[in-house]
């Protein structure tokens, strides 16, 4: 089990724009890190650079303190699980798992021991003599993982391993992978575009966007203290609502925001005096908006449509000229119907505040009181350059 350090790692193809821009990251021994981002953000490229399948254009990469930039994948001692599984179709499950060990010229009994051990961990024993084409999607996935385990790598890399599975199987494999990590205590880097996978599997999440690291932190840190609008909207489903406004008065503990329709809201968020009078965005998650009566509630809106999920209900509120509707998520059933006017309120303690560039103002600690302001809680992580996103909308 190894430690991985990336130092100003970047990737460019010819004269084209950089796809990976100076990424700094440290993954501790035994840690499960998920790299998440929208498609085209460079997450797979980054993983392939770590694997050694893609050349590193600049920066350094260390495994356990040794620079491995120019090492082949097998010299780096990585095991990789591909999105398409990439099982060798002409070999049996056993041969698939033994292939790398045979190439490493391990003794036959050692190969058999390792393959059988991996097969036992993944319950593949009855399938060892089958060919990949005779296996189901989930079984193939397990063989692909087994092939990586048999190599006893220092570092496990998973490239969107669950995206070819159906929803039920995905949940099951997700738990299996989590259980596998608890059992093997191995260092895992896992790439996905699915924030649910990231939230459920990761000890730490790296949010990647356009080749930049937007934020690194534990799942709940990212949920409670997104560093910017991008992370705020990427983590959590349905995504966070953003309401435009102006910062009226700043303060170390409280700030006052005038929302687009003129009403003012005091939120427990620290803002610098220099930001007074600038445009800001107030963020609130769909699950935090509260209903009120039309008579009492501070804000009114028309319900555009309602989605009943059974266990919860989504209401889409008309945001007028501001564009896409806001979402309110209720954990209870609701008899509010489309076309009704409803009153709602924005609990200040659940609000987020973003400046014009999309960067978040620091919120006070929430929940269990753990002090986890973005970037302050995770000492091993440093940002190569200020994380930046384009302002949405």
């Amino acid at each position: 089990m190894a430690q991985l350090t990336l130092e100003k790692l970047n990737k460019r193809y010819g004269d084209a724009a950089q796809v990976i821009k100076a990424i700094d990251l440290q993954v501790n021994s035994g840690e499960f890190v998920v790299i998440v981002g929208p498609s085209g953000c460079g997450k797979s490229t980054l993983l392939r650079m770590i694997a050694g399948l893609e050349d590193i254009s600049g920066g350094n990469m260390y495994i356990d303190g040794t620079r491995v930039n120019d090492d082949t994948p097998s010299e780096r001692g990585i095991g990789m699980v591909f999105q398409s599984y990439a099982l060798y179709p002409h070999m049996s499950v056993y041969e698939n798992m033994a292939f790398g060990l045979q190439l490493a010229k391990l003794p036959k009994d050692e190969i058999a021991r390792r393959v059988e051990q991996s097969a036992r961990i993944l319950q593949l024993e009855p399938l060892l003599q089958r060919r990949p084409k005779d296996l189901s999607g989930g079984q193939r996935q397990r063989v692909a993982i087994g092939r990586a385990i048999a190599r006893e790598p220092k570092l496990f890399l998973f490239d969107e391993p669950l995206s070819n599975l159906d929803a039920a199987l995905r949940v099951q494999m997700r738990m299996e992978i989590a259980a596998l990590h608890r059992r093997l205590k191995s260092t895992i880097i896992y790439v996905t575009h699915d924030q649910v996978e990231a939230m459920t599997l990761a000890q730490r999440i790296v949010v990647l966007n356009r080749g930049n690291v937007e934020q690194v932190g534990t799942p709940l840190e990212l949920y409670d203290h997104p560093a910017n609008e991008f992370v705020a909207q990427f983590i959590g489903s349905p995504k966070m609502n953003l309401l435009p406004g102006t910062l009226v008065s700043s303060g170390d503990t409280e700030s006052v925001v005038r929302l687009w329709h003129g009403k003012q809201l005091t939120v427990p968020i620290a803002t610098p005096a220099s930001a007074e009078g600038t445009k800001v965005k107030l963020g609130i998650r769909p699950e935090h908006i509260e209903w009120g009566t039309v008579a009492d509630a501070p804000y009114l809106a028309d319900v555009l449509f309602v989605e009943h999920m059974g266990n919860e209900t989504y209401h889409y509120l008309d945001s007028g000229k501001l564009g896409e509707p806001w979402v309110v998520r209720n954990s209870r059933r609701s008899d509010i119907a489309a076309g009704e006017t409803v009153g709602y309120s924005l609990p200040p303690e659940h609000c987020h505040l973003f400046d014009e560039s999309g960067k978040a103002f620091a919120r006070r600690a929430v929940g269990n009181g753990a002090s986890c302001l973005p970037g302050m809680d995770a000492p091993p992580i440093t940002f190569a350059e200020p994380a930046r996103t384009n302002v949405m909308h």
Partner: protein
């Protein structure tokens, strides 16, 4: 339901037919489909019989006669005499002709040399074309040129290139210093077969390369990446991943090429005319039939050519199926 069956009770004798005829109708649907299939296949079968079956039967028929080329309607049955005959302690017939066995040797030698060289160079070209590089499309098109040129033109062209006095091959070899005196590529019996093989390889490598390229492109690139993660060198990736996966396509390509090479005639005939050093079995049959006007003997030789090609094709198919069954059995 109950009401229905009750009301229909009196006509129970009539009721069974619908249920019984249901599978009957199904069967007739299947029959109709089979009939439609036969109707659709019939034109192809008739055409095949007309252009392949009938000439084959005629050739087989004439191989048992003493017909001559200019008067094919006057013939006597001679049994197997055209194949092999004993008279006065001597043996006659195609199978007793040393030239026939020379032709068989030539043909097998030509087939073995040219097909293995084609496989080798075809594989190299296919692997090259499978890589991404600038001008890939142009190379793929250019590589087809030799395949597109008619065999007669190829033969004439190589005839000139191999010319002992004016040929570009000798000129090149002399300049490089590999030879000191011009070689008589076409006339020299030890060299003329090589001249034929070189010309044939040049012409048919594109076919092999494209067949193999098509197979190579079916292999997903992530298999190679998985193999790299497993620590496979380039040679191991080729040996353990590429080769087993393109094997089925390779065998099909080999069958095609072996069939073609066994039937070779035009290239050899145009390049080296009637030289005994290069005569193929097809060339032998033509010689008997056209030069000697021996329609019976020529037909017998043709039948032997057919049996040889068909036999080797059957062997290939058998080996292919056998190796398949072996694979299935292992699973």
């Amino acid at each position: 339901m109950t009401h229905n069956s009750e009301s229909l009770l009196p006509s129970a004798a009539v009721a069974p037919p619908p249920t019984a005829s249901a599978p009957g109708r199904k069967r007739s649907l299947q029959q109709r489909r089979a009939r439609a299939a036969w109707v659709l296949v019939a034109p192809a079968l008739i055409l095949l019989f007309a252009v392949a079956g009938w000439p084959l039967l005629r050739t087989l028929f004439y191989s048992f006669t003493d017909a001559a080329m200019d008067t094919p309607e006057e013939y006597n049955f001679v049994g197997l005499a055209n194949y092999l005959d004993f008279a006065d302690g001597e043996r006659f017939g195609v199978l007793a002709d040393p030239l026939w066995w020379q032709a068989v040797g030539n043909t097998l030698w030509f087939t073995a040399c040219s097909v293995s060289l084609e496989l080798f160079f075809g594989m190299l070209l296919a692997l090259l074309m499978n890589e991404k590089f600038r001008g890939q499309g142009l190379v793929r098109a250019a590589i087809l040129v030799p395949w597109a040129i008619p065999t007669i033109v190829t033969a004439k062209m190589w005839g000139w290139m191999f010319h002992d006095q004016y040929g570009v091959i000798n000129d090149l070899l002399l300049r490089v210093g590999l030879i000191e005196t011009p070689l008589a590529w076409i006339a020299e019996p030890t060299l003329s077969m090589w001249a034929v093989v070189i010309a044939d390889v040049w012409k048919t490598v594109p076919f092999m390369a494209l067949m193999l390229l098509a197979a190579l492109q079916m292999i997903p690139s992530d298999l190679y990446e998985a193999a790299r993660v497993d620590g496979a060198t380039a040679w191991q990736r080729f040996r353990r991943i590429t080769l087993p996966l393109i094997m089925p396509a390779m065998i099909v390509a080999l069958i095609f090429r072996v069939m073609d090479a066994l039937r070779v005639f035009d290239l050899i005939y145009v390049l080296t005319s009637n030289s005994e050093a290069t005569i193929s079995i097809s060339g032998y049959a033509r010689e008997q039939m056209v030069s000697f006007q021996e329609m019976g003997v020529g037909s017998a030789a043709s039948v032997l050519v057919f049996m040889m090609v068909a036999g080797i094709a059957a062997c290939f198919l058998w080996i292919n199926r056998f190796s398949h069954e072996g694979k299935e059995a292992r699973e």
